[in-house]
Symmetry: C2
Amino acid sequence: MKKIKVLTDFLEPNDAVARQNREIFKKHRVLVLNLMSSPGAGKTLILEKTIEKLKKGFKFAVIEGDVATSNDAKRLARYNIPVVQITTESFGGACHLDASMVKEAMQGLAFSSIQILFIENIGNLICPAEFDLGEDKKVIVLSLTEGEDKPSKYPVVFRNADLLLINKIDLLPQLDVNLNLILKNTKKVNPQLSSVMLSAKTEQGFKKWLNWLVREYKSKSKLI
Amino acid sequence: MKKIKVLTDFLEPNDAVARQNREIFKKHRVLVLNLMSSPGAGKTLILEKTIEKLKKGFKFAVIEGDVATSNDAKRLARYNIPVVQITTESFGGACHLDASMVKEAMQGLAFSSIQILFIENIGNLICPAEFDLGEDKKVIVLSLTEGEDKPSKYPVVFRNADLLLINKIDLLPQLDVNLNLILKNTKKVNPQLSSVMLSAKTEQGFKKWLNWLVREYKSKSKLI
């Protein structure tokens, strides 16, 4: 009980910092996406392929969140884009990013030369969903291998999301997973949530995600 | 910073309740296993198959932890064993089980007719690792689809575990995953951690896990 009360106290200053972050992103016309998933759902590979395919047209940066290691930051830095690593091991192993961590990471980025900023959150379907980072949109990556009932079992992250990427779709023939049931369970918790089925490995369905991203960027640029 | 301090305050009463739970388990000669994993790694299917295969020889019970739904409890109750569901949605959506939740769930179980109690923790590789529930052993389930670097990226859960089950091994031919690298990364964070590779779906490797379980039960019974 005590812990829950503290979490509520903690959310208010988080929201204030998230608003400050959002103002900075808006001022610099940067589209910011907060990517969330279970561990190993494929967020980093999706980012690698996205940056590779769009790097001629867009200037990217990544804020990379992990409990430990800078493995993912190293993978992304190979694309010659600015990458800032947040390792929460030094914050007591925090299980999510919060707006203050992002604010600190933002000090390392030159926003005048960034158009799209990805924040790769810590692999966790529960806690990250509660923390506004100042992003424009929240994107969940669900691996097909995780089964049909994740939207029902982790409702908050699905309820707050703007886009669902169902990854590892290439494994469909090998799995006893009912794709329609995933979509049906998703609609129950968030009827507005759009979804894209893709495989970061085979690139099947990948273009639909890229089109969504470009559309979001254009829509944000026009707003300002 | 504030949050970390509170988490420390919170752990002490948790450990006191965990000790009480442990005394009760010991008194009734019940082997208690705390199963942890990412969402969708296959904990429930592993339990279903385990109970099905050993139910003639052992009396099982399950405490089932989820943020929302009682889907998994329903799956397990079909085996005519006692199942108690903890749904943390009513505790502010807590991202892990704690010793007090388990203590409360224990009220619903008749320990005189239980030999092995499984506690299926909430799907999360970070927070559950910090909370002693009073269990004898901690078992991690890692899905092969999650990739090689999970032991390095989520070190606490691997460091505290007694057994690693690498599940969905039937998908090995379809994945670009290096099994030896998973084992090597595991050894780096926990050189003592034993591992069993299995597929709950095809039952490949399953016997090794059942042998481990029976051995643990015998070892606990003899100790008392």
